[in-house]
């Protein structure tokens, strides 16, 4: 059986990662979604193993110590991370798995998992990104300026990615990502390690 692919979907804050990822999962129900581990408490209706793997502080520290996370970060007093085991088991079963993550986390995943397919979601333009960030709600001009500065810095991380997909329109962006997944399954270097079915030249006669 062929191993699945780890697809890492990232991009600057405000570009629409969550929306594209949700639409992609709807279009590709066979795609597995990477479930994060967290130390925060479950909210109403959240199910362990579906929304998150809920862990105690001690369990999470053990995972860090045992290198059981592809990346982790602390956010407002809680830990969040990507369990390596869930990704490995999914790939070994031949299924593709998608991880939606901010740009710094994606770069950490790349260090531990360079064979992943790293997709950078781009805004059609910086003006459009500003309009999306502004349109989100009630932030004042300073907050928006700060977020734009961060977004421009994040855009410069594109160089570490395999693919850039412009999120001009959700369906078009999803179609491009689906094409990338199909193409990556056809890559000769992946197939040659997975399909050793051809006789060697010396056996041909």
């Amino acid at each position: 059986m062929n191993r699945g692919l780890l697809i890492v979907l990232s991009g600057p804050s405000g570009v629409g990662k969550g929306t594209v990822c949700a639409s992609l999962r709807h279009r590709m129900p066979e795609l597995v979604y990477s479930v994060s581990a967290t130390t925060r408490s479950p909210r109403q209706g959240e199910i362990n193993g579906i929304n998150y793997f809920f862990k105690s502080q001690e369990q999470f520290q053990d995972m860090i110590a045992n290198d059981a996370l592809l990346e982790w970060a602390e956010y407002v007093g809680n830990y969040y991370g990507t369990p390596r085991d869930f990704v490995d088991r999914t790939l070994a079963s031949g299924k593709d798995i998608i991880l939606e993550i901010e740009v710094q986390g994606a770069l950490k995943v790349k260090q531990k998992f360079p064979e992943g397919v790293f997709v950078f979601l781009m805004p059609p333009s910086l003006d459009e990104l500003k309009s999306r960030i502004t349109g989100r709600g009630t932030e004042n001009a300073d907050v928006i300026d700060h977020r734009m500065t961060v977004a421009v810095e994040e855009m410069n991380l594109l160089q570490h990615y395999d693919y850039a997909v412009v999120n001009d329109e959700i369906d078009a962006a999803c179609q491009r990502i689906q094409s990338i997944i199909t193409a990556e399954h056809c890559r000769a270097d992946r197939l040659m390690t997975e399909l050793p079915q051809m006789p060697a030249a010396s056996e041909k006669a």
Copy 2:
């Protein structure tokens, strides 16, 4: 304007390159087909610049001498080759161009044009390839054995290609090739040389 892509479609004899290429051109009318140069005489209905660029022996020798061909070969007394100029002009106009060619020719093209997208069309199995070669007509067992030996040698050239596409079913194979073309247009390394629109980090503030 973004440069187009040169897609080189190759694979062992009998795998169905011509059929897949014809179907692909039907599905993607915007895809330009690389026209070969030849010294053979035009047949009834063949048009210069559409079916072939018809050249005299002297003109063809000049093209060889001037490195105006991406590859060339002699076949039953006539020369055939891929004019570099037609490929270059098509790519510069922003259009993709496809070149259908046997495996040895594809490797020569790769030497002169490594930025091309090299797609290797594979039979679902060697048994299926033998059945396709046998089914073509009236060849005797020796001829079929020889062609199978050559085909197995050709299969081992897969390692020099970017992608392998199994030709199990024409529509599925075309769909994979279309996905490869879409994905290649999204490759970050291609986009970064073509779209220098992002401000540098030093300009952000």
